[in-house]
Symmetry: C2
Subunit: 394 residues, 2 copies
């Protein structure tokens, strides 16, 4: 159902309000899972990491996080010692209002880099927001974390594992500065399964590698990327068997891929979703690299925007990394199932290719014919609107 | 002098004509150095390399190349076995007309990928072009190799080495698909020095690493990048001493940097030249990586285009590679000498930064304060015009 939202899960609360960080838009939110049995997190690999992430990573080492405070409109990044103190202050203030320890309250920020958080607005906003923390306004949370996003990104999937109905439900934001490694991208997920912390962390990392870490809007990795997964523990479910573990892994990966594709499709200025499937690579690592190179190429992205059958740019992009095994004589290339190159030779005309590019989703399939490595990446076209949005962001 | 051109050198010939590969523009040219004592070449590292480069790399292993045939309007890339046969045919036909061996005639192409060369036009064009090969129309060559370039790229520098006046003179083209590794970018240089082949090759590679390999318009590496340097041998000069060798290396690097900056400034749609100087890195390798990450970031490029003092994007870009040593607490950042971050703390306002961004050349200086590694990279802003050019290239 389109209206399902993560706060529908038992023991999951959240709300979002306008605290005045941005003009006339929700900009401050919380997610609160008081009885969480585990909380896993994956963070940006950018070395210029925001202080709020430094803080959150630190507290997650010792404690199961039960809540997260998220603001949009200001990334609290590049803000030095003051920024770190502000992250801490936010966590401490929220913890007091929620009757938690500060080390149980994560903080996340997204927005402009290099400007200090307006702490008066954040703290008084928290007073209003957390006056009653037992509400289930998940859609308000989803709205409050958006920045240049044009639409919300919500997922709610479930499957039977054993006899239990296991749900994964979540939200994400992200539109620019997207090549997650992890990607600003924020994603918050909850599951009703009871999974131990260490196992949940591994499962979340794997799901992110196959979803958020395979999308790119503009190759830029945010300083603030964060994905959190709370386990409410409602369904006592220990994932003892390999089959059950895999079933949960697949469910979570599916949820993350749905969010990831929504982010790619909503890339700043985008009009098309581009899915790149690389098969026949000599390794999975090579396949991932090639898929990312194609989805990141500005010349591929502009050609797709122009519905221009300039397929040579895809092969140009595929060959960019000198360390990837590649043979121009062996590869085959398809656009939305229309073959264009077969084992190195051109087998269709540009005119034959043109009609398939009119679709809103373009699936580019490159078979390197060298081995069994495969990977899929998602991105979007590059348009004048991306330029317009980003020449005057602040 | 602005009018100096490479064919001014003794024993260097060239011309360019319209052969009908493109409508109403010069598109076929030759450079001919009948008494060349050496010819060095640096080529793209893209694995999806064009057949003309495969051919040229092969002949250069056994022979000193004396001439190169260059066409624009068609890259002869992604063209399989027919493409390779066409490259060979072009070389053979030109060799007959010039009384050279085919293995002395290099071929280069630039333009659209995935379309076979119109060989009837190429061969009859060569008949016209080489009917008299002893002409010195260097400017016509420079014009014939351009594609989306808005201006020609010409360099002519000289210095005294010992008692000899050594000249390096050349031309280049390139505007999009530019992150040379080597970069489509074509560059042709001649020197009047007499330098042995093996030594010339090392010197050219070093010069390219400090110039063409440090520019980026759009991160896309062409399938057809090529730089050639002919030595006419006029000045018998063996580069025996280290001092003399270094003097020649510096002269050639300077010439290549002048061409590289002209390419970056003429990047498709560009309105500004961006120079990124990274100092204080823990190694030269790290400095090169960080400089390239900054110059390649679409969010940095759009901010510079919008003259938006969104300096946080520079640090975001600088931190993207998890393998680079980086400390957010230690770094200092300057734009055109205006300090904005000092040892990790913000020391100027966005308002103070705004005026310096109005200049046409933006020099971004990042001091990582970790060691002695340094590097400079050049790029350009990202504009609507880049999108317009590339959504409908073909």
């Amino acid at each position: 159902m389109a209206d399902d939202i993560f706060t529908d899960l038992e023991g999951v609360f959240g709300n979002g309000i306008s605290a005045g960080i941005k003009p006339n838009k929700r900009d401050l939110a919380y997610i609160y899972v008081p009885n969480a049995v585990a909380c896993a997190g994956v963070f940006t690999l950018n070395k210029f990491i925001a202080p709020c992430l430094t803080y959150t990573q630190k507290i997650m080492k010792s404690q199961v996080v039960k809540a997260v405070i998220i603001n949009s409109g200001n990334a609290n990044a590049g803000t030095g010692k003051i920024g770190l103190a502000n992250a801490k202050k936010t966590s401490q203030h929220a913890a007091r209002l929620l009757n938690l320890k500060p080390s149980e309250v994560a903080v996340a920020s997204t927005g402009i880099i290099g400007v200090q958080l307006p702490m008066d607005k954040v703290l008084s906003g928290l007073d209003t927001l957390l006056a009653n923390a037992s509400v289930k306004e998940g859609h308000a949370v989803s709205d409050a974390i958006l920045t240049t996003d044009l639409c919300d990104k919500i997922v709610h999937v479930s499957c039977k594992i054993g006899k239990k109905n296991i749900v994964v439900s979540g939200i994400a934001k992200g539109s620019g500065m997207i090549e997650p490694n992890m990607g600003t991208m924020l994603a918050y997920l909850v599951t009703n399964a009871s999974i131990p912390q260490a196992q949940l962390q591994v499962i979340l990392q794997d799901a992110c590698d196959e979803s958020f870490n395979m999308i790119s809007v503009d190759t830029d990795t945010s300083t603030n990327d964060m994905a959190l997964l709370f386990a409410t523990g409602e369904k006592k479910f220990q994932l003892v068997s390999r089959v059950e573990r895999e079933a949960f892994q697949n469910l979570l990966t599916e949820a993350c891929q749905i969010l990831a594709k929504k982010i790619a499709r909503d890339g700043e200025g985008a009009t098309k979703l581009i899915e790149v499937q690389v098969v026949g690579a000599s390794s999975r690592r090579d396949a991932r690299k090639v898929a990312k190179l194609i989805v990141n190429s500005p010349l591929v992205k502009t050609a797709m925007h122009g519905e221009d059958p300039n397929w040579g740019r895809v092969l140009m992009a595929a060959g960019k990394d000198p360390e990837v095994k590649f043979s121009a004589d062996k590869l085959s290339l398809f656009f939305n199932e229309q073959v264009i190159v077969k084992e190195g030779e051109i087998v269709a005309t540009r005119e034959q290719l043109a009609p398939v590019l009119k679709k809103e989703t373009i699936v580019i399939l490159l078979d390197l014919n060298l081995g069994h490595g495969r990977a899929t990446a998602w991105g979007c076209d590059l348009t004048n609107k991306y330029i317009d949005i980003n020449t005057a962001y602040s």
